[in-house]
Amino acid sequence: MTKRKYVYLLALVPFIVIALMYELVPIVRIILNSFVSDDSGLITMANYQTVFTKLLYRKAIFNSIKISLLSAAAGIIIAFLGARAAHNSGGKVRSVFMTILNMVSNFAGVPLASAYMILLGNSGVMIQMARQFGWDALANFNLYSTNGISLVYVYFQIPLSTLLMIPAFEGIRKEWQEASTLLGANNTTFWGRVGIPVLMPSIMGTFSVLFANALAAYATVYALMMDSIALLPVQIAGCFVGEVKIRNGLGGALSVVMMLVMVIMIFVTNAISHRFEKGVRK
């Protein structure tokens, strides 16, 4: 019986082969490569030195973190309002809302860039209208800047974050709200004292998903600005694609930095939600 059991391990082989060939080995290789010089082939920390000293890469790290934080924060705030509204409306409104969010959540990358170019690009529909009516603030809007990119990122954060937050609101018992009203608390006090603390683990979980989503976003920004913006994914891809000589080491170091940023964000959000989790679960 036990011997025959191990024959079944063979069924795991295809899975392991694919995972090793296209996931584990490539990722380990890229991490190892980050410690190898592109010029001499010797083991070195020079790639990391370049990453942290060269202005372009420092800016890329800074911009990536900034845009990811901004768009994730904006996404969370809108998602909180939207999910709470869906929770309060319930029934039909909620399900229609969720259906549309689900549909729109696939809207990202090149199509999103294309739609925003039509809308807010240099000769975009809204920009032209603004010029006609003399709304300078809108007419001078520059889509091809970090602020412009942040705006586009916020767009694809909203459906995802709202969809992630709606189920969390089901954990907010109507009885709590009723109890707090009977105890004399108003709506704001309830959300500040009870609602948000209870939701904090979900908020933090969603935040880290949004952050990752923005950090790794590539197609949207590349379609708008090609290589001309200092962002981590763009610079990483730049080391490998379209160059005469592939820079494995530098690209590896940038990738490791990006993964580290992601891991740090996961730790931070986990730590915050743990502080709020005491007593909430169990």
Partner: protein, 266 residues
């Protein structure tokens, strides 16, 4: 209470308007040759005629559909086998399968594609073939979705008891798995494959980094149209969104049917 729900509806409407504006504007843009004032003028469907009669567009569409099939089939078979063995014989290994399946979630497209590229680009065997690399990368990028779909399906059907029941009735575990479990998680498999189709259909990163412009999929076609002709790009955009929405509509329909039958069983 009334006031409350009016406020909620207003928020939901605002969000929906914000989300739908880019879609609606692009759709209108693709249908009018002149839109500089408030009202667009010159209604025409010439851009749709143009793209559908463009062999490059049709080829890009066909390529995109074809490239979906192979990785999805491979990943489903591989994950099914792995989960069958771990669930029945080696429950302790399941944790590791899960970790491997969830890594692509955090790594995402850019790092995955350049990792694969840098490993195989100078390989002289078939592994160095760009299309093979692309298929491998697609297998990995859809792994979390396929894994979760199949895993949730297995949880929902109470797999251990069903397998024991089948075994007591004289079926072998392998027979029971394919005859009893797989038919019951079929709709879960279909849903996750459709999600995977959506992901591959919307992919630009992997195909650009791994296959340059040699393998022109629909996203690359859109990108190139964007650079030359906004109206044509909008038409391509409408086609892509129509397909994407159709896929997610089918997914939502299947999921709601699944939930209904799950509720019926309880």
């Amino acid at each position: 209470m009334k006031k409350h729900s009016a406020g909620s509806t207003a928020i939901i409407l605002l969000i929906l308007i914000y989300l739908l504006i880019p879609l609606v504007v692009s759709a209108i843009y693709s249908l009018f040759s002149n839109w500089t004032g408030i009202v667009p003028r010159g209604f025409t469907i010439e851009k749709y005629v143009e793209i559908f009669s463009d062999p490059l567009f049709r080829a890009a569409l066909a390529r995109t559909i074809l490239i979906c099939i192979i990785p999805i089939v491979i990943t489903i078979v591989v994950v099914l086998l792995a989960l069958f063995v771990t669930a029945i014989y080696f429950p302790r290994l399941e944790k590791y399968v899960q970790i491997i399946c969830m890594i692509p979630y955090t790594i995402q497209g850019v790092i995955l594609s350049i990792s694969i590229l840098s490993l195989y680009v100078s390989n002289k065997t078939i592994l160095g073939n760009r299309l093979i690399m692309l298929i491998g990368a697609y297998c990995i990028i859809i792994l979390p979705y396929i894994y979760q779909g199949i895993r949730n399906g297995m949880r929902a059907v109470n797999m251990p008891v069903l397998l024991e029941a089948a075994e007591m009735l004289g079926a072998s575990k392998l027979y029971a798995f394919f005859r009893v479990i797989v038919p019951n998680i079929l709709s879960a498999i279909i849903v996750s494959s459709l999600l995977a189709v959506g992901i591959i259909f919307g992919d630009y990163v992997l195909v650009r980094n791994l296959d340059g412009s040699a393998f022109q999929n629909i996203q690359i076609y859109l990108y190139q149209a964007m650079k030359s002709d906004g109206m044509k790009a909008s038409a391509v955009f409408v086609v892509i969104m129509a397909v994407t929405f159709a896929i997610s509509a089918v997914v939502l329909y299947l999921q709601s049917r699944q939930n209904k039958s799950a509720k019926g069983a309880k």
